[in-house]
């Protein structure tokens, strides 16, 4: 194995597990350090650069960063990254004068954005300050897409939504509400320079089993029902409600039901708990509200009485699970009828484009999903782009944001006559974090504290209104502890082989024993054998130095277990190890080169 090539920005980026896992590559450790310094506004803006909606995502993000967090290698629980994001948003000072501005004059390019969800809003956020005239068409009477219609107000307050959407609209973006686009061809005929489709996955899946038609009045499609609640068209539900499905939409449905008068709510799952799609924390929140989650029940039929829904029949399943946790066999072992007044179906959703004509030049595959380039987000028709759930099916808000960023780059390049694929590359800037003897620009001392628990509004109070936000946010003490749990993985361990004199000081001081000096070898497994914990999960790198000057052996470091505590660098007598803060630059639309004639 030859010396690790760290010139590729992805190498050190990958070490920052949270940032690497975040679709929008939010620089998590950097903003947590800002929070630690009380610089909430700076932390908010740093977040906003990547994820556009820190206040919203600080409450309802799917948090792909947290399962990835390096902290979980040594602790039961990761850093409460999402909660800290909310801290930055909640405690920020007025930052409105530091947001991108509406330009003095536009560049004359007109971009139509369909659907006012996170994807379209992100495109507008990136393009409007560059001079593009962005117009968003929204079929509903308020913007936000699923963030407004599907996420209940007790998880995401309306004011937070309105404020962060407002920042974007204030950049000179035109929002046309109650304006569904009914014909793509007609829209294209209006001569837009580019069109972006961010209409989400608006079609909730139905369950066509016996009794469906007869009980229709009390059988609801989850996302449609949530939307109807969000827009005040529905304000009550029956006493006992069954939710079919156990994803995050199901969690929102069951908790909303409790707030609309349901006394007895059951979430019906077809499989055992470890196969649930819902995030663990959403399950916990629902269970805290006494929602009953019933496993191994598969819907068989709706039961109706006198033309009205009266219950549901389920088949009870038994599963064989192998050592790897995969289901290898299943069988029906019984049947159960559960009475209910209402059923809410939360079994998935899909995208649907009844308004895109077959001859609009936009090709769909056999599942009626548009053919979209995974890098440029352009459809088969030049100048028409897709993003968010409408591009590749249901994901989450943070993915929609990233799609928006990428589509904005493509639209910008397209409108400037530049090649869509030759995009600005990622870059990394490394700067020593050393300030003096045993002094670093980051709090490197390991803090053994456990994850802080979010406090909730008391159960007796929270059901009084639909829009009482349940989570209270971290208090000052919780913030002070939680920020120090972050391991600062973006402060990279960088090794300069010619300076090393092989004294082993770094190896001895490392609290997780992730270093070794060993003869060079072709095979990574041979090198790893000299580590005290040689095995590593897939995708984790081994950092291999150039041959050392005295013996020609190599220094190796297991990036999997390193905690970035900096003790190797503190202990190194020759400064062969240094801690360098790595700022990873993820290019957006405003980082693309501009043709000279466009400037003129």
């Amino acid at each position: 194995m030859t010396k690790t090539d760290t010139s590729n920005p992805d190498y050190f980026h990958k070490v920052v597990d949270c940032q690497w896992a975040c679709p929008a590559h939010t620089p998590v450790p950097a903003y947590i350090r800002l929070i630690a310094q009380g610089r909430y506004g700076d932390a908010y803006l740093l977040n906003r650069d990547s994820n556009v909606f820190p206040g919203i995502l600080g409450r309802v993000c799917d948090r792909p960063c947290e399962p990835a967090c390096r902290r979980s290698r040594i602790d039961e629980e990761p850093v409460a990254i999402c909660r800290l994001k909310r801290v930055a948003a909640d405690h920020r000072e007025d930052i409105t004068d530091r947001l991108p501005k509406k330009p003095a004059k536009t560049n004359g390019k007109r971009v139509a954005l369909i659907g006012a969800g996170p994807a379209s809003l992100t495109v507008a956020n990136d393009l409007a300050p560059l001079g593009y005239e962005c117009t968003i068409f929204e079929k509903l009477s308020a913007p936000g897409g699923l963030m407004r219609s599907n996420i209940p107000a007790f998880r995401l307050p309306e004011s937070v939504l309105a404020e962060e959407i407002g920042y974007i609209l204030d950049m000179g973006v035109e929002l046309k509400l109650d304006s569904p686009v009914s014909s793509m061809k007609a829209l294209l005929d209006d001569g837009w320079d580019a069109v972006f489709v961010g209409t989400g996955a608006p079609k909730g899946k139905d369950l066509n089993i016996p009794g469906r038609e007869e009980g229709a009045a009390n059988i609801h499609i989850g996302i449609d029902w949530l939307e109807s609640v969000a827009f005040d068209h529905t304000d009550k539900i029956g006493e006992s409600v069954l939710i079919i499905g156990v994803g995050n939409t199901a969690m929102d449905c069951c908790r909303t039901s409790l707030r609309l008068g349901a006394k007895n709510v059951k979430v019906m799952a077809r499989k055992p708990r470890n196969f649930f799609k819902a995030s663990e924390w959403e399950l916990e929140d629902a269970e805290e509200e006494n929602v009953d989650i019933v496993v191994n029940h598969s819907p068989k039929a709706f039961v109706t009485k006198d033309g009205k829904l009266a219950g549901m029949v389920f088949e009870i399943f038994e599963y064989d699970v192998d050592a790897a946790g995969e289901i290898t066999g299943q069988r029906v072992i019984g049947e159960e009828t559960i009475p209910c007044t209402d059923v809410i179906l939360a079994i998935g959703q899909e995208n649907a484009f009844p308004w895109i004509e077959a001859d609009a030049g936009i090709e769909f595959d056999k599942w009626h999903v548009p053919k979209v380039d995974e890098a440029t987000f352009q459809s088969t028709r030049d100048g028409v782009f897709f993003g968010g759930d409408s591009a590749f099916g249901p994901k989450n808000i943070i993915w929609a944001v990233e799609h928006g960023h990428q589509a904005a780059i493509s639209i910008h390049r397209y409108c400037q006559g530049l090649d869509l694929t030759n995009r600005a590359p990622r870059e990394i800037e490394l700067q020593s974090a050393k300030m003096g003897m045993f002094e670093w620009r980051y709090a490197n001392a390991f803090d053994a504290s456990e994850r802080r628990e979010m406090e909730h509004v008391a159960l007796v109070d929270r059901f009084k209104r639909l829009n009482i936000e349940v989570e209270l946010g971290f208090n000052a003490e919780q913030i002070a502890v939680e920020v120090q749990r972050c391991l600062n993985c973006d402060v990279q361990t960088v090794f300069d082989a010619p300076l090393c004199e092989e004294c082993d000081a770094c190896i001895d001081i490392c609290p997780v024993e992730c270093l070794s000096i060993t003869p060079g070898a072709e095979d990574e497994a041979v090198l790893r054998a000299s580590l005290t914990q040689p095995e590593a999960p897939d995708g984790q790198s081994l950092y291999v130095s150039a041959p050392l000057p005295l013996t020609g052996r190599v220094m190796i470091k297991d990036e999997n277990v390193c905690l970035h505590c900096g003790l190797c660098a503190e202990r190194c007598p020759t400064s062969a190890w240094d801690m360098k803060e790595g700022v990873i630059h993820i290019p957006h639309a405003d980082d693309q080169e501009v043709r000279q004639e466009a400037l003129a």
């Binding site: 290698r73 045993f438 390991f446 004294c503 082993d504 190896i507 609290p511 997780v512 003790l567």
Partner: protein, 351 residues
């Protein structure tokens, strides 16, 4: 001085030994030695050896004298017994302790000053008595704690930091120990973790006095060009003569030894030290031959390392002096002190 501590972190999937302890359970207090000091590597090797042998830290006694090296007993096995004693007097302390409680495992840590100058008489007699202990001599050829004077192990021609050359002949601890009847003589280097750990394990399990002379560079006062005990010089002249692996009694020996390749030495605990000769003409059971090799290597500056000599046949102090194996604290007082009448009878025998 260091201003930080090494945190104790339990990571998932961390390897544990037979006692269920992690390697970090064998650490001690944070070292206050200079960053890069060879002694810290020796400390780490000791901790690893005890961990790999699955020895309970509470069954170990750490003793030392005075000096940088002698400070290091604080830096490993925080749960072991131990004492910092008087300069050069650690061997006497260890001798006394081993005499009254043979059930514990003793490790003395000393340096070239503590052992070869002020304490050479003490060390010589501990070797002669074959006290059952591991004796680590952290050898850096310099008085580091007093800022860089030559020690008794400095080679002729080796220079001090400002350039003055040493003109007095060195004491080679390995040759010296062989000359006074040592039963286990090894040499290693703080920079060769693998060799050092396996030799330490063999030394702990050897019944009798096990001397390990460890070249352990002083990064502050003897790591310059012109020094013969720097990292660079040691790596350059390093030569492995005999490799030693300790195999515990529980492990069934299934490998067959090829003649002249691997030589098994059976220990008193039923374990085995497998000696692998890296020099074909070197015999680690031949005292005169070992001394001859060591004297010749002095002339060529070659640093001969490995388990240089072993003799399991000689009795240790407890056996030789017919002392009891039972720790004195476990013997009833009436038996320990049978009274004036018994004393009178003994005295009567000598009249």
């Amino acid at each position: 001085m260091t201003s930080f501590v090494k945190p104790k972190i339990r990571r998932k999937n961390e390897p544990l030994n037979d006692l269920g302890l992690a390697r970090s359970d064998y650490d001690g207090a944070m070292s206050t030695l200079c960053a890069g000091c060879g002694h810290d590597s020796v400390t780490a090797a000791l901790a690893r050896a005890y961990f790999e042998l699955s020895m309970d830290p509470k069954d170990v006694v750490k003793v030392s004298g005075i000096g940088c090296s002698s400070k290091t007993t604080t830096y490993f096995l925080r749960d072991a017994h131990g004492a910092n004693t008087v300069h050069g007097r650690m061997p006497s302390f260890a001798t006394g302790a081993a005499a009254v409680n043979g059930a514990l495992s003793y490790v003395g840590v000393s340096g070239d000053g503590d052992s070869l100058s002020i304490g050479i008489g003490q060390m010589a007699h501990a070797i002669r008595r074959n006290v059952n202990m591991l004796y680590m001599l952290e050898n850096n050829g310099v008085y580091g704690l007093t800022k860089g004077q030559f020690s008794a192990s400095s080679d002729i021609g080796s220079t001090a930091k400002k350039g003055a050359a040493n003109t007095l002949p060195p004491i080679d601890p390995a040759i010296f120990a062989l000359s006074v009847g040592a039963t286990f003589v090894a040499r290693s280097f703080s920079g060769d973790r693998d060799q050092l750990v396996s030799i330490i394990k063999a030394g702990i399990k050897h019944r009798g006095f096990a001397l390990i002379d460890v070249i352990s560079p002083c990064v502050s006062f003897n790591d310059h060009k012109g020094s013969t005990k720097s990292y660079a010089h040691t790596y350059q002249y390093y030569h492995k003569a005999v490799h030693a692996d300790y195999v515990p009694p529980s492990e069934e020996i299934v490998t067959s030894y090829e003649e002249g390749d691997v030589m098994p030495v059976e220990l008193h605990d039923g374990g085995i030290i497998k000696l692998r000769k890296l020099d074909a003409d070197y015999d680690p059971t031949d005292r005169a031959g070992a001394m001859d090799h060591l004297l010749r290597s002095q002339a060529t500056s070659e640093i001969l390392t490995g388990l240089l000599y072993i003799d399991e046949s000689r009795p240790d102090m407890v056996e030789h002096k017919k002392l009891t194996d039972t720790p004195l604290h476990s013997i009833p007082y009436a038996k320990l002190n049978p009274g004036a009448e018994a004393l009178r009878k003994v005295q009567e025998e000598f009249r």
